[in-house]
């Protein structure tokens, strides 16, 4: 889109007169940040309320997952390989960063392949990749695992904490705690799942939605179109990211995932166990499943005192409504996961609020 057109549409959004106040939810953490970063959230008309969804993989990872990773290290002295922002998340009793400072080996990697490389280089060490993330990262994790299996890298395994996005949105609507009039759906996730995967929003809940990209033009046009669908009562999932999102999704990636994983229930921070929202390695690959390979006794999972990440992830409150926000809980000393992750709603509010 030409720049002058972009300015024109941003003015339309700014001056938009709604028939009544509306709540729309952006599901994806990358969108949360993009709305702030591009300044689009800043030009929202007053009556249009943007609610952040549960789409930040680090944020929704329950404490129990990290507790297990920490116990595995304690008992089996493995090398953990993880994406950077996981290390600071406070688990029930400690964090990966803390155990690292106490001598545990926790390597920050940019891709699961890097973790596999560590395992190949250091054959006398057990390397565990902490596999969290949504549909966007699952395919690369699956490819890595497949390579490990094919090459027989026996000292490599994954602790799967991967999650599927559509069941979480489904669960939020079933809970019905917050009134949401329509959804801005994640562009990257939809590349994998396909737009059809979101049809349930209309069929089951009569909610319109748009699939959108991440550039300012995508955010503005997506928002304008969603408001229009809501106001005209048009219950559809409209794909505005056609350059890359198809109806059926990326079948190659989906087949890959199906070959390696079974769909399983998964626990989400703040929401609880959501049926069919997680992945588990198929039994035949159990020697690569860190949870089975390294049995541990799990400590009781506790939530961080006073932290309201759960309600934030369910869209019930905004970060500044949490009493810890910006005082006890800051990016430097985070109490909850939403303040840790780059894509977390608290971190975005903390960084960008005026």
């Amino acid at each position: 889109m030409e720049k002058d057109q972009l300015i024109k549409y941003s003015k339309i959004l700014k001056d938009l007169k709604l028939k009544k106040p509306l709540n729309i939810m952006e599901v994806c953490g990358t969108h949360t940040v993009a709305f702030f970063h591009t300044g689009v959230k800043d030009i929202f008309p007053e009556e249009l309320n943007l609610i952040d969804g549960p789409g930040c993989p680090v944020c929704v990872t329950a404490n129990g997952y990290l507790d297990r990773a920490i116990e595995i290290e304690k008992k089996h002295k493995v090398v953990h390989a993880t994406f950077g922002d996981m290390i600071k998340v406070p688990a029930s009793y400690t964090s990966l960063q803390k155990i690292k400072s106490e001598g545990a080996r926790v390597e920050i990697v940019y891709s699961p392949m890097d973790a596999l490389e560590i395992a190949k280089k250091e054959k006398d060490k057990e390397v565990v990749f902490l596999s969290v993330g949504f549909e966007t990262t699952i395919p690369t994790e699956a490819v890595t695992l497949k390579r490990a299996i094919e090459e027989g890298v026996e000292n490599f395994s994954m602790l799967t904490g991967n999650k599927l996005t559509p069941p979480a949105v489904d669960a939020l609507l079933t809970l019905g705690e917050v009134k949401i009039d329509g959804f801005i759906l994640p562009g990257h996730v939809s590349i994998i799942t396909g737009s059809d995967r979101w049809k349930f929003l209309g069929e089951k809940y009569a909610k319109p939605s748009v699939i959108s990209g991440f550039e300012p033009k995508d955010l503005i046009m997506g928002t304008l179109r969603l408001v229009q669908l809501i106001e005209e009562g048009e219950i559809v999932t409209e794909n505005l990211y056609r350059e890359v999102v198809t109806e059926e999704g990326n079948s190659l990636a989906l087949d890959f995932i199906e070959e390696l994983y079974d769909v399983d229930d998964a626990k989400w921070r703040g929401i609880g166990v959501i049926p069919g929202s997680g992945l588990r390695l198929k039994d035949k690959f159990e020697s690569f499943d860190a949870e089975k390979k390294f049995p541990v006794e799990m400590p009781e999972e506790v939530e961080n005192k006073g932290c309201r990440c759960g309600e934030i992830l369910r869209g019930l409150i905004t970060p500044p409504e949490c009493p810890l926000f910006g005082t006890v809980c800051t990016p430097r000393e985070p109490v909850g996961a939403c303040m840790v992750s780059f894509e977390g709603s608290c971190s975005a509010y903390y960084k960008y609020r005026k």
Binding site: T38, V58, F83, T136, F342, K354
Partner: protein, 333 residues
């Protein structure tokens, strides 16, 4: 000569003597290095300006330079941003036992190129060798002396002033980050290490105290420098996203790693805050120099959000650029 640095290279004996005279002094120039306990220099008329900085970086050699080039340009720039003319440098080396002498030679040669380019001299130095594992290959300290030329780059900043940068931002930090993470798409990225003294002094000589403030935007990048400037002040600084010069390669890596060029280190970029009426002429003067080719007015001082730096995005939305909280970490997706 031995291929690797030995502890004996630092023990004050013969090996150390040959390292200093055959390698270091030979490269830096016999006519400028004084081998006595201190160097006696005559910097000329004017107030003296004195600075020191220590350089550590992994990798030691990188696209666009090495630790030696950084150590010269960094100290030269620290003097130049005060409005001083850099004159003399010292060079303190801390070498790790086992460091290749060929690498040291390469670094010293690059320092020599940098001092010649910047027009300064290394007049004194020191060399220490530490046990393997006690340092990361090589650490360099350079101190520098310069003289003021009758004006200062530390003046009162007022609303209406313009913010200028001399070229693309984030090049050094992002290039090093990409190199460290061995990104395959880091082509076209390179550190921007360069001396700014000639450009800055030319501007100082012509525009004097119409230049209200200058600082090199090293660690923490442009956003951090500006946050230091406005901390506790009753004005704010607005940057205009549309005007920010960023290389497309830098934008690409930032998008993938979740980094922000505004918070990434530069090694050859200065932020100038100048009077509004001279801003355009200053930019034109900067453009006469290779290091100022892409100079641009990127923002202004106003009073909209006192004590804060903010950015007006392409679509005219606004967001705050807060002080950097933590090192930027690569993110998940």
């Amino acid at each position: 000569m031995d291929k690797k640095i030995l502890l004996a290279h630092g023990n004050g004996g013969e090996l150390m003597g040959s390292l200093i005279s055959d390698l270091i002094v030979d490269i830096f120039g016999k006519e400028s290095v004084q081998l006595d306990d201190s160097a006696i220099v005559s910097p000329g008329e004017g107030q003296l300006v004195f600075t020191t900085d220590t350089y550590t970086i992994t990798p030691v050699f990188f696209e666009g330079g090495d630790i030696g080039k950084l150590a010269v340009n960094g100290t030269v720039n620290d003097l130049a941003v005060m409005g001083a003319e850099p004159k003399f440098l010292s060079c303190g080396l801390i070498l790790e036992e086992g460091f290749e002498i060929s690498s040291l030679k390469k670094i010293l040669k690059s320092m020599k190129e940098a001092i010649d380019y910047a027009g300064v001299k290394i007049v004194t130095g020191d060399t220490k060798v530490v046990d393997k594992g006690s340092a990361d290959k090589i650490f360099i300290n350079t101190s520098g002396i310069g003289i003021m030329r009758g004006y200062s780059f530390r003046n009162r900043i007022i609303p209406g002033d313009k913010v200028i940068v001399n070229g693309t931002i984030g090049d050094h930090g992002i290039s090093i980050m990409a190199e460290r993470s061995k990104l395959s798409f880091s082509e076209g990225l390179s550190s921007d290490s360069q001396p700014l003294n000639r450009m800055l002094l030319s501007i100082g000589d012509k525009f004097g105290e119409n230049v209200h403030f200058v600082r090199d935007a090293t660690r923490g990048g442009v956003a951090s420098v500006l946050n230091e400037v406005i901390a506790g002040k009753d004005f704010s600084i607005k940057l205009i996203e549309d005007k920010l010069p960023v290389k497309k390669e830098v934008t690409g890596v930032c998008e993938i790693l979740g980094l922000d060029p505004l918070y990434s280190a530069n090694e050859g970029k200065a932020i100038l805050i100048t009077s509004s009426e001279n801003a355009e002429n200053i930019v034109n003067e900067m453009k006469k120099f290779a290091e100022g080719e892409d100079a641009e007015v990127i923002g202004e001082v106003d009073t909209d959000f006192p004590g804060k730096v903010y950015i007006e995005t392409y679509i005219k939305g606004k967001r705050i650029l807060p002080p950097l909280q933590e090192d930027q970490l690569p993110r998940i997706c």
